[in-house]
């Protein structure tokens, strides 16, 4: 039983990392109906900024977190401005191909600068608490605490601010939002800023759990987060978080109770099964016919 709870804690930790990344996919999809396949690589850049902050500049946890979040926010906003905005009215597939290209570009710029894997030194004093037999590390505590705080902040922004109101309106009917006097381009930039910032934070959380990083970590982790968003219903913020914790739990529990090589097989079987019965994901809405 203790083993189960220990694994449940690991599941929440992994789920939190997926959730932070999945939010970026789902928000961009929500406002642009576009899948930003470079988002996994934004996350990867966040992990490398974490390396720079921790190993090169010897900064403590909070400044490293701010560095990764700030850096990836700028990267996301710049990518939207330079690579995606000119394609806003082009066929969807052009923007998707471009995002794949941006991802490969980021991987290879990172590879050029870091030909060998990097090691991120511990960002926090490393010790564990005992919680009724379950051991909780400072890293787990920081990951879960920071993720919950960031998700709550996002919830407030989306549901309680004027900008959040505009974002929700854009997800319903982007073409009509300018008639409200809302500068849509600015709101789309804000979406990329928020999603990318969370991706940057995820890079730090991931780096604390798996401190050896290379330029390709964004591919598989990005896919998993994307799958989380799809499970939850892409475009839905609550769905992305729900999907991420489901995926984290399935992965950890599969690895805990079955040979770990089954992990991705089980994960993707689950995805197929879910999509057959619930094509728009758990909390996704059926596409509303636009008038």
């Amino acid at each position: 039983m203790i083993y189960f709870f220990q694994q449940a804690l690991n599941a929440v930790q992994l789920g939190s990392v997926y959730a932070l990344i999945a939010l970026g996919y789902t928000m961009v999809y929500g406002v642009l109906s576009m899948i930003n396949f470079a988002h996994g690589d934004f996350f990867m850049v966040g992990a490398f900024l974490c390396f720079v902050g921790a190993a090169v500049w010897h900064l403590p946890f909070v400044p490293v977190l701010l560095l990764s979040m700030g850096g990836v926010t700028m990267l996301g906003v710049a990518t939207e401005r330079i690579a995606y905005r000119p394609l806003r009215n082009a066929p969807k597939v052009s923007a998707i191909i471009t995002s794949l290209g941006v991802g490969i570009f980021l991987e290879h710029v990172t590879l050029g600068l870091n030909p060998y894997p990097k090691y991120i030194p511990p960002l926090l004093p490393s010790f564990s608490f005992d919680l009724g037999g379950v051991s909780v590390s400072t890293f787990q505590l920081a990951t879960i605490g920071v993720s919950f705080a960031l998700m709550f902040a996002l919830h407030l922004i989306v549901n309680k601010t004027k900008a959040g109101l505009a974002l929700r309106a854009i997800s319903a009917d982007r073409a009509m939002v300018p008639l409200m006097g809302v500068p849509v381009d600015k709101m789309i930039a804000l979406t990329f800023a928020l999603g990318s910032g969370l991706g940057g934070a995820a890079g730090v959380m991931y780096g604390m759990a798996y401190p050896v990083i290379d330029p390709y970590i964004g591919i598989i982790v990005g896919w998993k987060a994307f799958v989380s968003a799809v499970i939850g219903g892409i475009g839905s913020i609550r769905g992305a978080v729900l999907g991420a914790y489901i995926l984290g739990t399935v992965e950890i529990m599969t690895a805990a109770f079955l040979p770990s090589t089954y992990r991705d097989l089980v994960t993707f079987s689950l995805l197929f099964a879910l999509l057959i019965y619930q094509p728009s994901g758990l909390l996704g809405r059926v596409e509303i016919q636009k008038v």
């Binding site: 929700r168 409200m180 006097g181």
Partner: protein, 236 residues
């Protein structure tokens, strides 16, 4: 006095389709101007171009300033509010949120609150449904919400695209009575309508559009007696 809105040689093309061909018209302060035309005549295209939602050629001056290159959201701040064809309520936002979004350009919270109260006084049905999702309102309620939402920006010019579309005769009467009331209070209106009889009774002036060009224009009372209008739009 120069007109509030002055449009000259407006053109709209969709690829090879010329939907609007060199249309010129004006709206003076305090007027209610109607654009009449059959389906596909280009009415919605003109209004979209006016609001900056689609690219167009020609010139447009509003309130003494050129609109060339002014983005759509900026035009709302300058005083052009549009009630779009099909109402286009944000189905996922509550009634109150729809209204607040319409007041985006309001600088102060106090002004926003004041306008919200004013709009709700105008549409008591909406105040009973503030927390309800916009998409769950009836067609008539959605039309009221769409008008209320446009009023929230305190427009100098209120533009309406077929406000009577899809409503029961009784509601059509109510909507037109309301527009007449706005007009009487001094508001400037530009209305696109298929309901020519009703529109020509209330309007100051009218333009008749055919295949993207203006074929007739004049005081509404004169157009009402025009044989061509009577045959084509009044079923006489």
């Amino acid at each position: 006095m120069t007109p509030l809105l002055e449009v000259g040689g407006l053109t709209v093309n969709y690829g090879a389709i010329a939907a609007v061909r060199s249309v010129s018209f004006e709206v003076r302060s305090g007027e209610m101007v109607v654009l009449l035309g059959a389906n596909g005549a280009g009415k919605t295209s003109i209004l979209k171009a006016l609001s900056g939602l689609i690219p167009s050629g020609g010139t447009a001056r509003f309130d003494g300033a050129d609109l060339a290159g002014v983005p759509a959201h900026e035009r709302v701040a300058r005083g052009i509010a549009q009630v779009p064809e099909g109402r286009r309520i944000f189905y996922n936002l509550s009634v109150k949120e729809n209204l607040l979004l319409g007041g985006w350009v309001q600088a102060s919270k106090a002004a926003l609150k004041q306008d919200l109260d004013r709009v709700l006084a105008l549409f008591p049905r909406l105040s009973e449904r503030l927390a309800q999702a916009g998409g769950t309102l009836s067609g008539g309620e959605q039309q009221m919400l769409a008008v209320g939402r446009a009023l929230m920006s305190r427009p100098k010019l209120l533009v309406l695209d077929e406000p009577s579309m899809g409503l029961s005769p009784k509601l059509v009467d109510a909507i037109f009575a309301m527009l007449a009331e706005f007009h009487k209070e001094g508001m400037t209106l530009l209305v696109v309508e298929q309901n020519a009889a009703m529109a020509l009774t209330l309007a100051t002036r009218a333009y008749v559009l055919e295949a993207g060009a203006i074929v007739l224009s004049g005081p509404a009372a004169e157009l009402r007696d025009n044989p061509l209008v009577r045959r084509a739009y009044l079923g006489a």
